[in-house]
Symmetry: C2
Subunit: 242 residues, 2 copies
């Protein structure tokens, strides 16, 4: 682990990169303890605050974790699927909110990916996952449910569908697509959306998953996508009409 003293980049950036490279290359393995901050500042010939800034950069990416106390220190963190989910959702949300992605583009991507999970989910979903889908459909039919709660339930339904594929890599990849859409979907919830239509489609999809009919599930998702896009275009038309 070395840094280039002639580089113009900030020292904390260089140090963070050096440690990151060591982790990716396998020089530092999971749960291995890094040298203490004092030792690192000796090694890189920089002050302790500079080392700390580098370590905080790595901690922000869940690459390390720190612990105080006698046998404490910084440890290489095993990147969990859970941590990766959270990062994925945050990044996707910001990406969508900051880049004026059209609703159609986001919608297309989301449903294209979700349809990829449907056949696997129809084949493998657990009873528990199917029960979750049914429970969310039931919740969505309750009168008095707020728009925000309806959207959250919608997301939970789709999460269960995706998780049904039993492939954690797929679930991780889809996390951003499904969850980051929630704010965009909120955008159209405030209009007179017909919840019965949505829950009807959800029921069709759940039935297909229960029957193990991947093709029908894909078709149901296709109809749901069409419905969602129609709703959005109505909203946009109404807005520009005003």
């Amino acid at each position: 682990m070395q840094i280039d003293p002639s580089s113009s980049a900030d020292l904390s950036v260089q140090i963070a990169q050096a440690i990151k490279d060591a982790i990716i290359s396998g020089d530092l393995i999971v749960d291995e303890r890094l040298p203490s901050e004092a030792e690192l500042s000796d090694h890189f010939r920089v002050s302790r605050p500079t080392v700390r800034e580098a370590l905080k950069r790595l901690a922000a990416q869940s690459l390390i974790r720190t612990q105080r106390g006698a046998s404490g220190g910084a440890f290489v963190n095993r990147l969990s699927f859970e941590d990766a989910y959270a990062q994925q959702v945050t990044t996707s949300t910001l990406l969508l909110s900051m880049n004026e992605v059209s609703f159609d583009t986001a919608c297309e991507a989301r449903y294209a990916l979700e349809r990829a999970c449907a056949p696997l989910s129809a084949e493998r979903r657990s009873a528990d996952q199917l029960a979750t889908m049914r429970a969310e459909i039931f919740r969505q039919g309750q009168p008095g449910l707020t728009d925000v709660a309806f959207c959250a339930s919608d997301v939970a339904f789709h999460r269960a569908l995706v998780d049904g594929a039993g492939n954690p890599v797929l679930s991780y990849q889809l996390a951003g697509a499904v969850e980051a859409m929630q704010p965009l979907m909120n955008m159209i919830t405030f209009t007179a959306r017909d919840r019965a239509v949505i829950t009807g489609l959800h029921t069709r999809i759940a039935d297909a998953i229960e029957a193990g009919d991947g093709g029908a599930a894909v078709a149901g998702l296709q109809d749901l996508e069409d419905e969602t896009r129609k709703l959005a275009s109505d909203v946009f038309a109404a807005r520009s009409g005003r």
Copy 2:
């Protein structure tokens, strides 16, 4: 923007979270300048190093950028697709290398997602993207190409296919799936893989894309997945046999 003095969490974590929330909620907009480090340390009643650690956490996630000098400071960064790609690839790579994900699981996820792009790509790919696919196939047929270069070309081929869908959100989501697989694919390259079979399948896929036949492209990808999994299982069988 406030922090909870009674919380046991590290101050720099709390401050980073408070600023992050302000960005996500829209209180801080893209390119807006944050208060200077001195002003932030006054506001949160902490020292400047603590504020700096918080800012470095945010910078590590590309949420802010900093600039030195008179009119410098920390600015809310527009999260670009490029930055998001890079984060996605790094996270996916670490996730796969640290969690003993089976080859089958990763392979299934990758091809399931890629097949979701194929019909869109068949419909919309630009001439340039098709040319890239053809060029990579040509490169893959060159004798003397190293295994590493073959893999890189393989990735470039699939990237062109995905980008052909003309949906940046989809390209972003797929970046991790396609690029993070490269190390795993390297794992099986060192055996006597028949490149002609692979390039033959690539040609079939490119032909389908050129003809605008999404179904054929999906079928080609399915065969490629089957071939890849067969190769991998052969390798694993040979290893355990030794």
